[in-house]
């Protein structure tokens, strides 16, 4: 059994589906932050069988929660202060997301106008389907990672 020490100040992402932690690491741009990050893969879980965890020692306000919600809104976000869990953040699928997904439709206006933000609007919460605000191209986030 591998032991990773407690963090004093920061947050823990728990119940990440096994194998998705690195994708979350990159999409949260944690590589650009100068803080301690522990990536735990394939930890044993009663609920999920196997799961990943991310322990991040930085202010949670620096993080875009929408990114985590889009990846998987069932992930648990524990906020840590003085080494203790002080709150759990609820993740809900955002109605609109900006510059998280990229429209892949070659006929979309975003394919030629680079300065346009890539905006997606939630069209089916149950199936986690977003559509490009401009061309309405479908994006199933479940098949994204």
């Amino acid at each position: 059994m591998l032991n990773v020490g407690k963090i004093e100040e920061g947050f823990v992402l728990d119940h990440i589906p096994a194998g998705k932690s690195l994708a979350i690491y990159h999409h949260l741009q944690l590589d650009k932050l100068d803080c301690t990050v522990a990536i735990i893969k394939n930890a044993r879980s009663n609920k999920m069988g196997k799961k990943d965890l991310l322990k991040v020692e930085c202010n949670i306000d620096l993080i875009d929660m929408d990114v985590i919600a889009v990846i998987d809104h069932n992930i648990t976000v524990n906020v840590i202060k003085n080494g203790e869990i002080v709150s759990k953040k609820e993740l809900t699928l955002p109605k609109e997301i900006k510059n998280i997904l990229k429209c892949k439709n070659p006929r979309c206006i975003t394919s030629i106008e680079q300065e346009l933000p890539h905006i997606f609007v939630l069209s089916d919460g149950k199936k986690q389907v977003y559509r490009c605000k401009y061309c309405e191209e479908k994006f199933d986030t479940r098949s994204f990672f």
Partner: protein, 303 residues
């Protein structure tokens, strides 16, 4: 300030008012001949479309307004790499209203966001062409005196035909419409439309032979199989003559059935059908001008 970007931007009540205005224009042209005096319409066409552009220009000229614009991307600042947003800001300084056609999907929405004048989407790639849908609805309403309680057959390229998809989305807002989709297997209506109809419990059926369903139709909407939608020339050649509406098939139709077509046609409607009083596709062109006149007046808040 309002724009028209998708056919569903207007509620059915707003459409009723728009169509009433279009019919009033049809019957009282002189009353509207100077309504747009001193106003300028920009026609920004990044790809060629003779009929749509001329229809807009005719509409504005008949309202007493002026027109300026360009009719292909090569003669516009887009060729120098200017963005749609920057172009529309410039156009906003020169004119009062803009009709835009652009090959990229979502371009009209981008223009509307940056514009300080009303923007009309005159076609954004294969995405939306709302003034064609308004034309179709006005034609049906004017000639049938209603937009509900009928069976409409949509025939030809139901897979790629954006006019068909837009018309279906617009018609499902009216009660008691039955859809009959007539297409070869390769050009079937997309699943997302079928799913939408099932969800709304709207009756529909899919058939391959036009003859089999002719007697039950109140409206027949014909479409062209477009060469540019195919990657494979052989597929195009095989499918382009799949449906040809001719005199013989018209014999099977109801005496008051209407034939519509967004035009241009190639050979899917035989010219002999043009003389049939049920052929409404050239009247449809005329209604296209009336509905664009009504739209310009509405968006410029001149009524």
């Amino acid at each position: 300030m309002r724009h028209l970007i998708t056919p569903l931007d207007f509620t059915t009540e707003e459409l009723e008012r728009l169509f009433d205005l279009a019919n009033d224009i049809e019957n009282n042209k002189e009353k509207y001949a100077k309504k747009c005096e001193g106003k300028i319409l920009a026609t920004c066409f990044y790809e060629p479309s003779t009929r749509t552009r001329l229809s807009f220009e005719s509409a504005m000229l008949q309202l007493g307004g002026e027109v300026l614009g360009f009719s292909d991307a090569g003669s516009s600042s887009a060729a120098k790499g200017e963005s749609v947003s920057d172009t529309i800001r410039m156009i906003s300084a020169y004119t009062d209203i803009c009709a835009m056609r652009h090959p990229k999907e979502g371009s009209a929405m981008v223009a509307a966001t940056a514009a300080s004048i009303p923007v009309i989407n005159a076609g954004d790639g294969g995405h939306q062409h709302p003034t064609q849908t308004l034309t179709d609805l006005l034609t049906i309403r004017s000639l049938k005196k209603r937009l509900d309680n009928f069976t409409i057959g949509l025939c030809g390229d139901l897979k790629f035909g954006r006019t068909v998809h837009s018309l279906i989305n617009a018609l499902v807002r009216y009660p008691n419409i039955t859809f009959v989709f007539i297409s070869p297997e390769e050009l079937r209506i997309p699943d997302y439309i079928i799913d939408m109809l099932k969800e709304k419990e709207i009756p529909f059926k899919e058939v391959i032979r036009l003859e089999d369903v002719m007697p039950e139709l109140d409206l027949l909407y014909m479409t062209r199989v477009q060469r540019e939608r195919f990657f494979n020339e052989q597929d195009y050649v095989r499918l382009k003559d799949f449906y040809i509406l001719d005199k013989e098939k018209m014999i099977l139709a109801k005496p008051d059935m209407l034939v519509l077509h967004p035009l241009p046609r190639v050979n899917e409607i035989s010219v002999e059908v043009d003389q049939d009083p049920r052929a409404a596709y050239f009247k449809q062109v005329q209604y296209g001008v009336y509905v664009r006149m009504a739209l310009i007046l509405t968006l410029l808040e001149l009524v």
